[in-house]
């Protein structure tokens, strides 16, 4: 991990009645990194973000942001962080500028500083043309950018984003991602929760997969995929070749029974990464005199990592995570 941890969570616990939301969860995020919390509904992602944002008090454990304890010094934390959620928390009847000035004042800027900061942020969010229109008239992507932008007026060092791209169309999502990448390039630290593995893959320096309130695994996206230790090989055979014969040839290097699709003349199997599977596949089939149309090797996706660890696919289009009150 590069640099000192700016977010340092140790053994944090939180229950809502009988429901255990966080079960001695520990994680660290280095300054200037994008950390992604990945997990199914009810895994505890939102609870963790709310604790970091001082909205919720943990039952136990220790949570530090920038070396400051979230329970003992919430005001000091609030000066450092910016929170943006699944629902854009901005007033729809106010204009973009009015929202930003209001938030700027509450970040303890003077009226003049707040107006100036709002203008700067509107420029960098490309919202200058819409600045003086009520937010009601904004598109979903514009609202979400404004929501994230609200943190920027206070020059928040740590951005806490709870499913920031939920409900955005692909173009708006790309815009948001490029904004977040810019902010990180300028030194911000981002902790974001997501159910979209693609988002984690695209943005994250580290991915922390949590389930049932505890960390299942963590690492860089590449390292997590590496950890799975296999790649998926897909072979398309030339016309007229006996599929069954090819399956038998490939069985020795396959980790499990190869799956074959007769009509497409295709075989798919998982091979250990140690065996340099792609050249081996080609060589074995060639030696057996089987003509091949196409061979591709696919590294595991984060989806594969997620499924292998959590036991079911992530659900990118499901509803918000529920935190029982």
């Amino acid at each position: 991990m590069a640099g000192a941890p700016i977010i340092d969570i140790a053994e944090v616990r939180k229950s809502f009645g009988e429901t255990v939301a966080l079960d001695r969860l520990s994680m660290r995020v280095a300054e200037g990194q994008v950390a992604t919390l990945l997990g199914p509904n009810g895994a505890g992602k939102t609870t963790l973000v709310r604790i970091l944002a001082t909205l919720l008090r943990p039952d136990g454990g220790r949570v530090l942001v920038g070396g400051v304890d979230v329970v003992r010094q919430p005001v000091a934390i609030r000066r450092m962080i910016g929170l943006a959620g699944q629902h854009a928390a901005i007033d729809e009847t106010l204009t973009g500028r009015e929202n930003l000035v209001m938030v700027g004042r509450l970040y303890r800027l003077s009226a003049r500083q707040a107006r100036q900061a709002a203008t700067e942020v509107l420029q960098r969010l490309s919202l200058v043309d819409a600045a003086d229109r009520p937010v009601r008239t904004y598109s979903g992507g514009m609202r979400r950018r404004l929501d994230v932008g609200a943190s920027l007026v206070g020059r928040a060092k740590v951005l806490l984003l709870d499913e920031p791209s939920t409900g955005l169309d692909p173009a708006a999502r790309l815009e948001l991602w490029s904004l977040l990448a810019q902010l990180v390039a300028e030194g911000a630290t981002i902790l974001l929760t997501t159910q979209q593995l693609e988002e984690a893959d695209h943005l994250a320096d580290t991915v922390t997969i949590i389930d049932h309130g505890t960390v299942v695994t963590e690492g860089s996206p590449a390292a997590l995929k590496e950890k799975l230790g296999y790649e998926t090989i897909e072979v398309t055979l030339a016309e007229g070749v006996h599929l069954r014969e090819a399956v038998e040839v490939l069985r020795p290097i396959s980790l499990d029974a190869p799956a074959s699709n007769d009509s497409a003349a295709r075989i798919t199997f998982r091979a250990s990464r140690q065996t340099s599977a792609l050249p081996t596949t080609v060589r074995l089939l060639d030696q057996a005199g089987i003509t091949v149309e196409d061979v591709t090797a696919r590294r595991p996706s984060l989806d594969d990592v997620f499924i292998s660890l959590v036991g079911h696919p992530s659900q990118p289009d499901s509803t918000e995570e529920k935190t029982p009150a």
Binding site: A53, T54, L55, V71, R72, Q73, P74, V75, A76, R78, R79, I81, G82, L83, G85, Q86, H87, A88, A89, I90, D91, T93, L94, E98, M102, V103, R105, L106, Y107, R108, P134, A150, G154
Partner: protein
């Protein structure tokens, strides 16, 4: 629940003074952009005044006071309740939209968003009061009290508005749900109707007269009546002096504000 000392005391004094104004501005801008609810709130005391005066004006005789002089102060108090219910709903909506979470994640005192809203609401109340007074005067409402006591009446009205706000803030933040707030309205109607707002308490069934006499709405109504109509009329029509009703009102205001501000702020911190 253990209480750990936090660093809220570290906020500069300016935060306590200016942040409520920042929020009040937000609420007033919101009102200006979506005026439907505010128009209804500001004009409803006039409508109630016309209606009640029409229905009860001929039937009810108040010894020592005309019915319109008796009715106008009660309509002003009633409008604080109606306005308060809108504040409850508004706060519940702000909780659900995530805006209150945003405020709670910012370095601003927990009281600021609530005090800010109460200031904005007071502005609307004063506007509604001005309209109701104009309508009242057209219907023969008159100030019979001294000039200083009319000033005290206005000050007391402002105090009631700011103090009662906390009851509704607690309701909105505890329920976090606009529909639940709606379902709580019968409680407030109980206080409005089992009171001296429209009729003298001695026309009510005996067993409920005690409640109707001493509950806050009745005390507030009588305080504004006594202050606007003079202490002689007050003694004759209402049974006590102006001072009695004024002091009792202030006591109710302070007690309600103390209890419900604690509840409201506790709910706010635990949302």
């Amino acid at each position: 629940m253990t209480t750990v000392s936090d660093d809220l005391g570290q906020l500069p004094l300016s935060a306590r003074l200016t942040d409520p104004l920042v929020i009040a501005r937000r609420n007033l801008l919101r009102t200006r952009r979506t005026p439907q609810a505010a128009i209804a709130a500001v004009t409803s005391p006039v409508l109630f005044l016309l209606l009640m005066n029409l229905v009860f004006g001929g039937a009810i005789h108040i010894p020592g006071m005309t019915y319109i002089d008796y009715l106008v102060p009660a309509m002003l108090v009633q409008n604080i309740i109606f306005g308060g219910l809108q504040a409850s709903t508004g706060l519940a909506i702000d909780v659900n939209s995530g805006l209150i979470d945003r405020f709670r994640s910012l370095p601003t005192p927990p009281s600021a968003p609530l005090i800010g809203r109460s200031i904005a609401d007071l502005g609307l109340q004063l506007l509604a009061t001005a309209l109701a007074l104009v309508a009242g005067v057209a219907l023969d409402f008159r100030f019979h009290g001294s000039a200083p006591s009319c000033v005290v009446a206005i000050a007391l009205f402002i105090l009631m508005s700011l103090c009662l706000f906390w009851v509704f803030a607690a309701l909105g933040l505890a329920t976090k749900n606009p529909e639940t707030v709606q379902s709580a309205t019968p409680i407030f109607f109980l206080f409005l109707f089992v009171s001296n707002a429209f009729i003298p308490v001695d026309t009510l069934p005996r067993w409920i007269q005690g409640f109707a006499t001493y509950q806050p709405i009745s005390i507030f109504n009588n305080a504004l009546r006594a202050l606007t109509q003079g202490t002689q009329a007050s003694q004759a029509a209402l049974g006590h002096s102006t001072t009695y009703f004024t002091v009792a009102s202030v006591a109710w205001c302070v007690s309600l504000a103390l209890v419900f501000s604690v509840l409201a702020l506790r709910s706010y911190r635990r949302l």
